[in-house]
């Protein structure tokens, strides 16, 4: 812990000189590369460092500045550390990210600072002693007291009204802000963009309601508004907007829910915090404040589940075998997550809620990110995965076991279609939902929807120009249906394989997932619109892909079942050919032979757990395009 304290002090000193400039940030230079037809920028909007209690208690010592350096392509040392405090493992991205946001848990900023600062009152409080000597125990106690409690409270050492912890929270919040300012490339090169952010970490009853909070500029509230400060989601969203407005005219903020798969159906509840059905006011707050949802990350996929509501077999991707955090530690309470824990359910329910309320509370664009807890944004390669340490799981290899829990995965990336790599441009892309997520590979996916997009768009150099001219991009709403329109909307979809994939894997197929409301009930259907069965596979021993696939896929597809009276959404899923899951790489590297169970050491028994496949189909999910019947608009 001393080392951690030292790192905090060093980081503070390193950015101290920036404090003055942060208050009066100069206008940035115009980007040399600016494309009015927009380009895809790859990043990670969910990153934890040693400032998060659950990262710190599992040995993470790296700070926000280290995370941004790593995202830009520099080498990062991670735990475990040797006796001299030197990291024993190192990571480096083969391709830097375009943008990143450090989103540390805000709830225990002050408590953690006090426990690390001998000069602050409270340093010798019992919870701090536990934190310094038995961090794993502190992880459970702090989470139960604060983030997992329906009525979160501060520790008694925070003093009356928690004033001491609120005061101490200013230090890490300053570190977060100043690191983001220091690493934001304001030159005309526009190589790297950062966002000031944090995580609001509410999980009442251990049902996950977590949200990442991202600010558009350097103008942010004096302190992050945490779950302890405002545990009710509607009040949180309203107060966040108020505090942002008070921070300055350039302050803008949005929140991104994540891990609905661990919410036990609570993330997208249609029960209002006041009780009864969701109110229009709450729906408006969510609609305005939450344009995106994180569909996939280190702790699993939240797109959809295999169940009675779907025959979509690709919903089985990266599913966790439990429904909330409690079930991780009390396995007897584990059960499959309900349908309402998944984004597809929310998108369908949002259509129905819009019919009822006039506003869609769940009009989400889709992104993915890592949720790394070792300050390693964008570390998504399956073959070199060292663990992300989510949910308090230590990412070290104490007994020669796997580097992470078998049910977890490296996480994904967020992709934003923007004119340039700058905060205003990327933030605007998030606002209009022109965004998509990938499970790791840097697939490029472009989608336009319109009433009469030309059928010959594929392969045309002006694909994007005509797409924008004749329709709306992913995340948009179809314009009103022309009176003479007799057919359904068309969608121009173009997908490009990761040109430098790790490993290189061709595309397999493109699918359109349609959801709609008919006769008061929600429906869904998956259309295969390009590509198909490629017969490709994976060599189990070497993990080398076999068979053929596609370098790119493009189609202009028209909905053959369109009913103008039915509200609908359409999002695109692009699937790669099969490739090895991270656990297959790790188990192969450790020489595990599941055909000979006696030879498998206990620490690696998870390698032979048949619930987790050896291969996966990595993928991308685009934001939907919505259609609303005019009468319901």
């Amino acid at each position: 812990m001393r080392v951690l304290t030292g790192a905090l002090v060093t980081a503070l000193l390193a950015v101290a000189g920036l404090a003055a400039t942060a208050a009066a940030a100069p206008e940035r230079a115009a980007c040399a590369l600016r494309d009015p037809l927009r380009r895809p920028y790859f990043g990670d909007l969910h990153v934890h460092t040693a400032l998060s209690l659950d990262a710190s208690t599992q040995g993470t010592r790296t700070m926000p500045a280290d995370a941004y350096r790593f995202a830009r392509g520099e080498r990062l040392g991670v735990q475990p550390y040797d006796a001299d405090g030197k990291p024993t493992r190192h990571l480096q991205l083969s391709r830097p990210l375009d943008f990143a946001a450090v989103t540390d848990h805000a709830e225990l900023f002050g408590e953690l600072t006090i426990c690390q600062s001998p000069d602050l009152p409270g340093y010798n409080a019992l919870p701090c002693i536990i934190y310094r000597h038995f961090p794993r125990l502190a992880f459970f106690i702090a989470n139960s007291q604060v983030t997992n409690s329906p009525a979160p409270t501060r520790f008694s050492y925070c003093g009356p009204d928690g004033a001491a912890c609120r005061a101490a929270a200013r230090t890490p919040w300053r570190v977060v802000r100043e690191a983001a300012e220091a690493f934001y490339d304001r030159s005309s090169a526009c190589r790297f963009t950062t966002f000031i952010g944090y995580e609001w970490t509410g999980a009442p009853g251990s049902d996950n309601l977590h949200r990442n909070v991202l600010f558009a500029s350097e103008q942010v509230p004096e302190l992050p508004l945490s779950y302890v400060d405002e545990p009710r989601i509607d009040r949180f969203l309203a107060r966040l907007q108020r505090e942002c407005r008070a921070a300055g005219e350039r302050c803008d903020v949005l929140t991104i829910p994540h891990n609905s798969n661990l919410s036990d159906g609570q993330m997208f509840t249609t029960v209002d915090p006041n009780g009864g059905p969701l109110r229009a006011e709450t729906a408006r707050l969510r609609h305005a404040g939450e344009p995106l949802v994180e569909v996939m990350q280190h702790k699993g996929d939240s797109e959809c589940r295999l169940g009675p509501e779907t025959t979509d077999e690709r919903c089985g991707f990266e599913k966790l075998p439990y429904q909330n955090f409690q079930a991780i530690y009390v396995p007897m309470t584990a059960e499959p997550a309900p349908e309402a824990s998944f984004v597809r359910w929310a998108l369908k329910t949002g259509l129905a809620e819009r019919q009822r309320l006039g506003v869609n509370p769940f009009q989400y664009g889709l992104i993915a990110s890592t949720d790394t807890h070792i300050s390693a944004p964008g570390a998504v390669r399956p073959d070199t995965f060292v663990g992300q340490g989510g949910a308090g799981e230590p990412p070290d290899q104490p007994s020669g076991g796997l580097p992470d829990a078998i049910e977890f995965n490296p996480g994904g990336l967020a992709v934003l279609w923007a004119e340039e790599n700058s905060r205003p441009s990327l933030f605007a892309a998030m606002r209009r939902r022109e965004a998509y997520g990938t499970s790791g590979p840097r697939l490029v996916v472009r989608v336009f929807g319109g009433w009469d997009l030309p059928g010959d768009l594929c392969g045309q150099p002006d694909f994007a120009a005509r797409g924008y001219a004749g329709g709306v991009p992913m995340g948009g709403e179809l314009p009103p249906r022309p009176p003479a329109q007799a057919t359904g909307p068309t969608f121009a979809i173009w997908a490009l394989r990761d040109p430098a994939g790790d490993p290189p894997v061709p595309l397999a197929r493109v699918q359109v997932i349609k959801g709609w409301i008919a006769d008061g009930a929600a429906h869904e259907r998956v259309f295969d619109v390009a590509g198909g069965e490629t017969g490709a596979g994976v060599d189990a021993a070497s993990c080398a892909p076999t068979g053929r696939g596609f370098d790119d896929l493009c189609t202009v597809w028209r909905d053959p079942e369109f009913d103008p009276a039915q509200p609908a959404f359409y999002y695109v899923r692009v699937l790669q050919n099969p490739s090895c899951r991270w656990s297959a790489y790790a188990c192969n590297a450790r020489g595990v032979d599941c055909a000979d169970p006696a030879s498998v050491p206990p620490a690696l028994i998870a390698c032979c757990d048949t619930r987790y496949p050896r291969t996966v189909q990595e993928r991308a999910w685009t934001s939907p395009i919505w259609y609303t019947p005019e009468a319901a608009g």
Binding site: L126, F140, I141, S144, S149, Y329, D396, P398
Partner: protein, 126 residues
């Protein structure tokens, strides 16, 4: 050596060394002395910083500490009674050395202080 001090010394050796299975969120095998330490650290939180899980943790540690304390006392009493009076001291030393040697092997599992892998007695104390 008299029976009573033999009994108490034996109990102390047992408490210091024997790996005892416990459950508090994550299960493991640690000596009673570490359970006692965890009880001392967490039980006061029931009064200063009460919360459902905190209370459960404090109570579970305390209950298991008391339970093992009593069980080990009974065990020490039984063993001490069976030691030949003339060789009690020597045999007590022998048991203590044997258990100390055992404690230096990876017989403990201490997720709350060491991580998920096995560890020896020295590894129990970060």
């Amino acid at each position: 050596m008299a029976l009573r001090p033999t009994r108490w010394l034996l109990w102390l050796v047992f408490c210091l060394t024997l790996p005892l299975p416990y459950f508090v969120i994550e299960s493991g095998r640690i000596p009673a002395v570490q359970l006692l330490l965890f009880s001392a650290l967490t039980a006061p939180l029931i009064f200063t910083d009460p919360g459902l899980t905190t209370n459960v943790i404090g109570v579970l540690f305390t209950v298991q500490t008391l339970l093992y304390g009593a069980l080990l006392y009974v065990a020490a009493r039984v063993v001490a009674a069976r030691l030949p009076p003339a060789r009690r001291g020597a045999m007590l030393c022998g048991i203590a050395v044997a258990l100390a040697l055992l404690a230096l092997t990876d017989v403990y599992v201490a997720p709350l202080s060491r991580g998920s892998g096995p560890t020896n007695w020295l590894g129990l104390w970060p």
